[in-house]
């Protein structure tokens, strides 16, 4: 950002160098606030935490109401009393979420590093707050802002839509007219705000060259500086004539899970949002630990799934170890020269596998709990022996 502002002061477009890949609104924001950069990032983190706190408070109310409704409608099996969430245990969850975000070492690291990921996180937190409060307009505006910043929150359109539909009590059937009407409304709100924001950015610099620099950069991954993601090593090793194909494959991988997850998790859009956030953080082209911090902040919301998580010990060990090994192997590779990029790549692989296993573990636990809620805790097979749920 400093480089971009310096280039602007020299009278050149900030996108003419290969370093600046942020959107024009960031230029505008930091034009005035560059001297107070630390303060800005601290305030953004606090804002994110506050937004998450309010969002989860509201969400708890929604969950509790829905639970009550389902109990009264007798949708639950008789022996699942221990699985029902009580207000007592849910009382501290918003505080825990806010603290998880603020005290997470990843958040602290990205704040100290003054990474613009903090701003992305803040916008996404406000988006989540707006969605859970039920305001379609604000939610569309914030989603447009988040998509404008980094392209991937586009996939959060689906869970937000599902949540708002649920809130308006519109059933999700493909033939229902009100479903399509609402979808069209929301989609048009979102697209209009996106278009307005992009046109506004055009007026900042009177040029469109922010589009290839920002979105072209995210999609075509030209810069292969090592990070905690998976793209850099693949594309450093790849031959030129395959790189286009694999860029397409990798980018589709991010967007691909939306539809199957939407079909499976249409009753539980907030969990869908959590899983989608995690998928974005893992598979985006330039991930940072700030993205990881955002979805990890949601883990207390599903602390009631603890008894169904199968691999949580191994996963937490893997994630902690990898976090410690990242700087060690980086130092060994770049400074000491006694390791090579394969060491660092192995740790990125392990870290991402750990994250993926975390998400799939939570997914499994969530679905299992839902199954138990409707079918009872003690499942029996046809011949009477105890049955076990398997995620296929």
């Amino acid at each position: 950002v400093v480089e971009g502002l310096a280039l602007l002061d020299l009278g050149v477009s900030p996108y003419s160098g290969a370093i600046f890949h942020e959107t024009p609104l960031i230029i505008y924001l930091f034009h005035f606030l560059i001297e107070y950069a630390e303060l800005v990032f601290m305030i953004t983190d606090v804002l994110t935490a506050v937004a998450l706190y309010l969002a989860i408070q509201d969400f708890n109310k929604v969950v509790f109401k829905k639970q009550k409704l389902l109990i009264e409608l007798d949708k639950y099996a008789p022996d699942v009393a221990e699985l029902i969430q009580t207000p007592m245990e849910m009382h501290y969850i918003p505080l825990k979420v806010a603290l998880f975000y603020l005290l997470n070492p990843y958040t602290v690291m990205s704040c100290v590093a003054k990474s613009t990921c903090a701003i992305n996180n803040s916008v996404m937190a406000f988006f989540i707050l707006a969605t859970i409060k039920g305001s379609a307009f604000l939610s569309a505006v914030f989603l447009a802002l988040a998509t404008y910043q980094s392209l991937y929150p586009l996939t959060l359109f689906a869970p937000a839509l599902l949540y708002l539909l649920q809130r308006q009590f519109i059933p999700i059937k493909l033939k229902s007219k009100s479903f399509w009407l609402y979808t069209m409304q929301y989609a048009s709100l979102y697209l209009c705000s996106l278009v307005v924001i992009i046109c506004l950015s055009f007026f900042l610099l009177n040029s469109w060259d922010f589009i290839p620099s920002v979105y072209g950069f995210i999609l075509s991954v030209p810069d292969l500086t090592p990070n905690i993601g998976l793209f850099w090593y693949f594309f450093a090793e790849m031959f030129e004539h395959f790189s286009l194909f694999f860029v397409c494959v990798f980018q589709i991988n991010v967007f691909f899970y939306t539809i199957p997850l939407a079909i499976k998790l249409k009753e539980h859009p907030v969990f869908f949002m959590f899983v989608q956030l995690a998928i974005i953080s893992i598979f985006k082209s330039y991930p940072t630990v700030g993205d990881v911090a955002l979805y990890m902040a949601f883990l207390p919301v599903w602390s009631h799934l603890y008894r169904f998580l199968r691999n949580i010990f191994i996963l937490s060990c893997v994630l902690i170890f990898c976090s410690f090994l990242f700087p060690v192997l980086w130092h060994l590779w770049i400074y000491a020269g006694s390791a090579n990029s394969n060491f660092y790549y192995a740790i990125t692989l392990t870290f991402n596998i750990g994250q993926i296993l975390l998400i799939s573990d939570y997914f499994y636990a969530f679905l299992r709990r839902e199954y138990y809620l409707t079918h009872g805790l003690h499942l029996t097979r046809q011949d009477g022996t105890e049955a076990m749920l398997v995620l296929k």
Binding site: L10, L25, I27, S135, F137, L138, F203, L204
Partner: protein, 363 residues
């Protein structure tokens, strides 16, 4: 006139140099060190002194902890020939054998602090033998398991040597896999090149020694060494015989050579022109008389000094001007329309969410 014509058929060199390079490290590359030391031994035996040999060995085999016979490097099974001895002078040892150092030795671009023994102080009447061995491939030679020299770089180094008149004639011998690729790119005159294998072929090693546990020599250099053992400083064997050393039946790979850049016919080039240090001696029976009045050369410079104005340091950069310059104020400001549009949008969103009735609180 006849002298001049005869001169054309004889080499016009007055001194000989040798640059012998072994580029591999680790114990299992024992044979490369043995190769280089065998050539060193032959070259020294035929008369080139240590001051004219630049020996570069990438690793120390004689004092390697895995050597069951310390302080020796054998070149033949049954330990017949110890090429190490106690008069081996290694000029570039261990990690000093790098591509950069090798090229600096060849081109002469050496820092002033380099000792004489590490320099190739050749001139335009020097015949230089360059022998390289190690692991190579199509177009490159690997140095120290971490870097490579390409045939293009080598050809350019030789061209630099030619342009700086650092050699009269050059014989380049390489014993690596696909060695012929290393001399493909030469374009400077007076270079003759030999290689142990063609492109696409591997150079094979000779015999392992079960006592030491590694292969002792490469085939090509082994047969070259055998050939050279029969050469003495007065022998008239020529290069055509060297080209016949190690046919395919013995060497498995096909040795190659390149003579198109060389001006003389290889049949008239003696082995000792490159491997030995045979001086050309001309005996004359005439007597030369030296002038008696050689002392007292007059001073050519006049005694009086010219009156010049005192010299002072010319100002290259107007420093005083620069440091007192104010920095140029060229700040960028976002255009007014943008700010207006942005804040209008923000206010619209705010009021859409919270309703118009709050406007009266704002105003």
């Amino acid at each position: 006139f006849q002298d001049q014509a005869e001169q054309f058929f004889r080499s016009g060199h007055t001194n000989n140099w040798a640059v012998l390079v072994c580029t591999s490290r680790f114990w299992f590359n024992y044979r490369h060190v043995a190769n280089t030391l065998s050539v060193y031994r032959s070259v020294k035996r035929l008369g080139i002194p240590d001051s004219h040999i630049v020996l570069m060995l990438a690793d120390d085999m004689a004092c390697n902890p895995r050597n069951p016979k310390p302080a020796t490097v054998f070149s033949h099974k049954n330990m017949e020939l110890n090429v190490y001895g106690d008069d081996v002078e290694v000029d570039y040892r261990s990690y000093e054998v790098t591509v950069e150092n090798f090229l600096r030795v060849l081109t002469g671009r050496i820092p002033p602090s380099t000792p004489r023994s590490k320099r190739l102080l050749s001139d335009d009447r020097s015949n230089i033998l360059i022998y390289m061995t190690g692991h190579g491939g199509n177009g490159f030679l690997k140095f120290q398991d971490s870097e490579e020299i390409t045939n293009v770089e080598l050809a350019d180094a030789f061209e630099q040597m030619w342009q700086k008149r650092r050699y009269n004639e050059l014989l380049f011998i390489i014993d690596t896999c696909q060695g012929a690729s290393m001399y493909e790119r030469f374009y400077s005159p007076n270079i003759m090149a030999l290689a142990s294998s063609q492109v696409g072929e591997d150079s094979l090693s000779h015999q392992p020694d079960l006592g030491i546990g590694v292969h002792l020599m490469d085939r090509y250099t082994f047969y070259v060494l055998e050939f050279l053992e029969e050469i003495h400083p007065a022998s008239q064997t020529n290069m055509n015989d060297l080209f016949q050393v190690c046919p395919k039946s013995l060497c498995v790979s096909t040795p190659g050579h390149r003579t198109d850049l060389f001006q003389r016919d290889p049949g008239s080039v003696l082995i000792t022109d490159f491997f030995g240090s045979v001086r050309k001696v001309e005996i004359t029976t005439e007597a030369l008389a030296l002038d008696r009045h050689v002392a007292g050369v007059e001073s050519k410079f006049p005694e009086e000094e010219l009156a010049t104005e005192p010299l002072k340091y010319a100002e290259q950069l107007p420093v005083a001007q620069i440091i007192h310059q104010k920095p140029k104020q060229k700040d960028w400001h976002p255009p007014g329309g943008f700010i207006l549009g942005l804040w209008a949008l923000i206010i619209m969103v705010f009021f859409k969410t919270y309703g118009i009735k709050h406007m009266k609180h704002v105003f």
